[in-house]
């Protein structure tokens, strides 16, 4: 059996990197995409709190309405949970409530308060509770206790998800799709005619992609941090290595998908079939807290879930290595399993 040659691995590593860096369109997009998404979400979620209940207030002249003397305490209108929306026409207000554009509609009359709610809207019910709570006389509830905790900004929660998502697409397509294309156009066959072994080729491809992923990751991370000043509670190094392990795991999935295929269309379909559920069930965009148990169990099958859990624990909670050992262990295991499968099934030609 031909001995492993590090020179051949290094040669293929360099050649693949050359391809990537010279493909200006792909190279640019790899940086531009995460930057644009982060900046976009940063702008969207850094200002107004969109989680507040929207309460329509009638009557109102343009943007002006008077709360005083309405019988509804100021504490309701000044609540952080409430955003008031002026309503100039009562029927229009009711229509907006019906269409869930408003959560509650209040008719301000002197010493009276009439309101409408939407029976099909949970937000409407909750806004009503806030209203009723504000009318509760002081002293009914014995005492309240305060717990303080710094707010985790959505951008700080979202950043690891976005980087992981970008890494997932880049790893799966950059490895899986490229190898299928190589096989289809005969580039793999030409390489097979040399002493290069399958292991050397796969190792070089993975190494190259990991290098490119981490290079992109660091550049985007530094660039985004300069703009948004992310709150990093834990170790930067642990954060980096979490993504490195996650990237390896995702690349190895790409290798499994590329082990045999010759159709770019099939490869594309298979990659989409894996990447989309992974993206939605790995808490990239939203937390699965409260989701059905089977959905949460299913999410455990994806390496992206563990990469993200570990990354968020480090970034948002300041957890150390012992706190993410399970996630790291699972990522290492999945990498070994997928790499073994890829090496076993790999074929140079059709």
């Amino acid at each position: 059996m031909e001995r492993i040659s590090y020179r051949r691995i290094w040669t293929m590593f360099r050649a693949r990197n050359c391809e990537f860096f010279r493909d200006t369109a792909a190279f640019g997009w790899n940086f531009a995409f995460p930057f644009l998404i982060i900046i976009g979400f940063g702008i969207i979620f850094s200002g107004e709190n969109y989680q507040r209940f929207k309460v329509g207030v009638y009557p109102a002249e343009a943007q002006v309405f008077a709360f005083e003397g309405s019988g509804i305490p100021d504490t309701f209108f000044n609540s952080d949970a409430i955003r008031t929306v002026p309503v100039t026409d009562l029927e229009t207000g009711k229509e907006k409530l019906r269409l869930h554009k408003l959560d509650l509609l209040i008719w301000l009359e002197k010493d009276q308060h009439t309101y409408w709610k939407n029976q099909q809207s949970q937000n409407s019910y909750l806004a009503e509770q806030v209203l009723k709570g504000s009318l509760t006389p002081e002293g009914v509830l014995r005492e309240s206790h305060m717990i303080s905790g710094a707010q985790v900004r959505y951008i700080d929660w979202f950043f690891p998800g976005l980087m992981a998502m970008n890494m997932m697409f880049s790893a799966l397509w950059g490895v899986g799709y490229i190898i299928v294309r190589y096989r289809k156009n005969g580039a793999l066959k030409r390489l097979k005619a040399t002493p290069l072994t399958a292991f050397e080729f796969l190792f070089a491809q993975t190494l190259s992609r990991i290098f490119l992923l981490m290079f992109t990751f660091v550049i985007v991370w530094i660039g985004s941090d300069l703009i948004f000043n992310f709150q990093m509670e834990g170790s930067h190094l642990l954060f980096f290595f979490t993504f490195l392990l996650g990237g390896l795991s995702l690349c190895s999935i790409g290798l499994v998908l590329a082990a045999r295929g010759i159709s770019e269309e099939f490869a594309s379909g298979a990659l989409n079939f894996i990447s989309w559920p992974m993206m939605f069930l790995s808490e990239v965009w939203f937390s699965l807290e409260g989701a059905p148990e089977w959905v949460q169990n299913l999410s455990w099958a994806f390496p992206l879930t563990h990469m993200l859990k570990a990354a968020r624990k480090i970034m948002n909670e300041g957890v150390g290595l012992e706190g993410i050992a399970v996630e790291w262990g699972l990522m290492i295991c999945s990498t070994v399993i997928f790499l073994t499968l890829a090496a076993y099934f790999f074929s140079w030609s059709e």
Binding site: R16, C18, R190, A193, P195
Partner: protein
């Protein structure tokens, strides 16, 4: 001495037998050609010998022994359909592939021999067909192999590029290297090959040197004359004559004797065409079909 021996080689796919039972041997330093129409099994036979595909059964001996993993280090291959890494220049491609071998020969002579100097800085995807074939040939020679496989080396090239490629292949032969090539061009086979195996439907149907194959299978030359030159002067002669509307064709194994007879009968030989048999005729005779059908 045989550098390569192929014994009862068979290659089957799921529902197709691509190579039925092929046996031949190649002498070191010679050029051996597999000639046949598309789909005859030439490329499959060659790829199995190269180790690109697995044989279903049969034996392949290289220098009298079974092939070892180091076989790939000692051979050079030019494929019919292949592709190179994108975004690399010709020089980078040569250097990249060169580093995959233990035996790193200097590439300057290859650049000169394959006339790659003017395109060294050009990217692979910007090369013309002829330039790409020359680069592929250079890649096949990078490790200074003793055995070179060329699969349809001149397919798709214009006549000038083809002639240039033939000169390079003749240079390779002069270096004492063994060449095994496939082609469906009888002209190419006659020009370059010392021995030829004619393949059809996965089998070798004839084998030998081009001259021997022609002599053993096609004895007759063809003399074609315009009808207006003949009139009825050929009547009564003991010749195999076919007369069409504007030309008459005479089949003969002795051109000299036939021409003497025609001159004696007072037939003008202006516009006469004498066609010697070639490998195309051999294939036609053996299969009833033309090579390009």
């Amino acid at each position: 001495m045989n550098i390569l021996e192929i014994i009862h080689l068979r290659k089957e796919y799921k529902n197709i037998v691509a190579v039925v039972d092929v046996s031949f041997s190649v002498t070191a330093g010679s050029c051996y050609g597999l000639l046949g129409p598309n789909g005859a099994g030439k490329t499959t036979t060659m790829e199995v010998i190269e180790g690109i595909q697995e044989a279903t059964s049969g034996t392949i001996l290289y220098q009298g022994k079974s092939r070892t993993p180091s076989f790939q280090q000692e051979i050079g291959i030019q494929f019919q359909h292949t592709s190179l890494l994108n975004f690399l220049s010709v020089e980078e491609t040569l250097r990249t592939y060169q580093k995959l071998y233990h035996n790193e020969s200097k590439i300057d002579w290859l650049i000169e021999r394959c006339d790659l100097q003017p395109i060294l800085g050009r990217r692979n995807n910007k090369l013309s067909g002829g330039q790409q074939q020359r680069l592929m040939l250079a890649l096949a020679l990078l490790n200074n192999p003793q055995l070179v496989f060329l699969d349809e080396p001149s397919t798709g090239l214009d006549p000038q590029s083809r002639r240039y490629l033939w000169e390079i292949i003749e240079d390779i032969k002069r270096d004492g290297k063994t060449v095994v090539m496939t082609t469906h061009s009888m002209e190419e086979a006659e020009h370059l090959c010392d021995r030829i195996a004619i393949m059809d439907k996965g089998e070798i149907i004839a084998e030998g040197s081009p001259v021997a194959l022609i002599q053993s299978h096609c004895h007759e030359n063809t003399i074609t004359l315009p009808v207006k030159r003949i009139g009825n002067k050929l009547e009564g002669l003991e010749l195999a004559i076919t007369v069409n509307s504007d030309s008459a064709t005479i089949k003969t194994s002795d051109v000299h004797e036939t021409l003497e007879l025609l001159i004696k009968e007072g037939i003008e030989l202006h516009e006469m065409v004498v066609h010697s048999p070639n490998l195309e005729d051999v294939f036609l005779k053996l299969t009833g079909r033309k090579l390009r059908e």
